[in-house]
Amino acid sequence: MLIRIQGGRVVDPTAGRDAVGDVWVEDGRIVPPSERKPDRTLDAAGCVVMAGGVEVHSHIAGGNVVTSRLLLPELYVSEAAPEGHPFAHAGGAAGWIGATYARMGYTTAVEPAMPPVHALATQLELADIPLLDRGALTVMGNDDQLLQLLRDGEGKAAVRDLVALNVASSRGLGVKCINAGGASAFKDGALKLSLDDEIPCYGLSTRRIMGALLDAVEEIGVPHPLHVHCNNLGLPGADDSFVATLDAAEGRRIHFAHAQFYAYGAADPANPMTGGFRSAARRIVDAMMENPQASLDIGQVVFGQTVTVSLDILRQFGGRKGAKPKKWVLNAGDAEGGGVVPFLYRPKGPVSSLQWAIGLEIMLLSGDPERTILTTDHPNGGPFTQYPRIIHLLMSKEERDREIAALPAVVGERSELPTLEREYTLSEIAQLTRSGPAKLLGLADRGHLRAGGRADIAVYRDDPDRTAMFTAARYVLKDGHVIVEDGTVVDWRAGRSLALAVESDRAMERRTEDYLQDRYGQGLDSFAVPDAAFAAEGPVFEDVACRG
């Protein structure tokens, strides 16, 4: 079917395009303008046409997300189901996640924390998220097999083979490390870990583990750079950890998750843990500008109740006494485990207000929105449903001023936010939410509107109320099919799960089989993610090629 999206303001920064025009779609792809009569015309007059949004870091599936629902069942509200999907309005559930992202014009979402031991559960859950393409990052860095191999001084090839095996067996899209060595250290009594602290029992450091993973990712040719969750998240002085980690990458590609939580300079360097923090947004942004091979996502804070979920059990244990309401789960599972701590970003509270300001500050100071990706680290900084509001704040100085006026003075005293005049353009928003994340994931077929691209497209009514504009799209197309009209899902299609096409080494398979048998009394087959495990009628997975 040939579709013409007619007369909208087409915004595609990858093609330098920001003008009224048409976008043509056929067989799931964007095609050049056609002489033929379209089978369907979508009137986009008065609308903005962008590529579908791409999410790089949102906790939408996996054991911790399941636990958070059981710990805090009251967090979401469920509403009566619409026609076509029995669970689309079940708050916080897979159907709701897919529908809510799609309504906002997002068409791809990546779960950033899939432990290989629970890959099948995570992938089954992701496969139940409708409408979107989805993927997951394979987490390594705390598992005994990897740490042993590094302790024993085995070479780069062995690490590469073990990482490739884990990505292949879990069907990951990339690799992530979370406070590398921190979960292991916690189990052995440590309560704090910095880049060069020794991981008990292994004689390793975060620097060594992360360095080995950075190399492995390059050698395998994973399109997405190593996705790094640094040490000391959320602590005053975490900016030092961020910058030290960036230095430790030594020019290798690296992505920093939820950077806002590290842009906290110690307000009183003599007493870093008691003196509170001030914004280090400018320091973080400057470091990023000097390192064009690095990227970050924000982890913007949003006011209100949420629940933090993280495989960084060291950090979650440290934060347990701040739980609100006062209940929390810490699972010291195999390798990473996970921690779930409910949290309230107190509206107008001084600490949460400063956190809120710092996230916006990083985006507004950034000289390269494509490497400054919008996330809330859902649900850790707040729910992804707040993206439209955050976009509104970025695009309107007036809107920011209105909000800042209601916040405590600390926002102006400890951050630059009130002085920043910048207003994001629609092109920059597209970089922040489309082309940037797509490039970061190495998905060349999306994040743009050029001919040949995947026809994942969002059409928004151009409305000065950007919150309203980006909450409910006029049209959303997924693979060339209209799935949303006027903010309502009209076609409950299933997307695919994106998995890296990577071969695992036979010798490493045999070694790992022996390791797992010894540890679990079960081998690789009990960790596998086979197609037969999925109930879907069509194919669930789609291969993504490694870098050549």
């Binding site: 059981l70 559930a93 159907g95 859950e125 009594g189 010291a332 009990s526 993610v529």
Partner: protein, 340 residues
Amino acid sequence: MAAWVKGGAADADGAVQAAAAILAAARTPVFAGLNADVAAIRAATHLAGRIGASLDSLGSAGTYADLGALARVGAMTTTPAEVVGRADVVLLVGEAPRGAALVERLNATAPSRGRAAGGPRTLLRLDALSPLPIAVAALRAHARGHLADDHGLLALAKALAGAQYGAVLYDPAELGAAGVEMLQGLVMDLNERTRCFALSLSGADQDRAALQVAAWTTGQAIRVGFGRHVPEHDPWRFDAARLAASGEADAALWLSSRPAEAPAWLAGLPSIALVSGEPDPGMAEVVIAVGEPGAEVGGVLWNEGRAGLSYRAPAAPAARPAAAEILGRIAATLDARKDA
């Protein structure tokens, strides 16, 4: 396909039609058991969502003891492989854990990872002379220094506090929600000084698979009702045995493609049983024999040794249908009736 309607042998279509007729006529049907693979649990949940049924599971006594404590205070937990690899002190709470296969393995091995590696492992018991939750509370009081008069408990408390990696094993069905809450409190207290984690031993049911499917499908735990087209979670209201005893349920679907005894109340109302093995044709109004996942058909099951889900290929493939397939056919039949 082996199937029976009202005790008489039936063909597949007849049994599916009869099952659909029971559900179509029901106003408050209940689906119970959910002792099956993920695909079947998922199919049952979707069918329940479409027709407004409620869900309950085979192991709900234990599952809800854990969940009750979880939603009140949280938990601090570990996995079987971590206990085997790391624990130097293991406390068995109550009678049930003593027979667990894990305990045999713990007795036969010593810590091999982490800071306790190379040292011995001590297994301790908390006997229930008083009611078990009271015994756990007394142990916690001794561990916190609030009580010091029971030498046995004092010794247990000291052993746990002196452990490098302690683990406390319990069966939630035996301990109950109040006891689990107290036990989690004990473990959290101990972590002010050292590392200690709780390990809830799962039963032979598939509740832990069902719990995950429920959470990601409805946003809630297993006992969910869809009668008002909104998933409503209520552990008391949607207790299947209670619904049957009170007469609130007017039809039931029993799903157990893994071996388990069906509840006696099943025969007391119009019912459907999807079961493996050699079913009693009189156990329900409609009985359909389905393949046992991991044995006769493939399926994703809770894997206790790994504390996760694993796909299990059929060990000896049989010509029986998978439970998910039958549930899908029942759903399609109901959809066709609705359209007609």
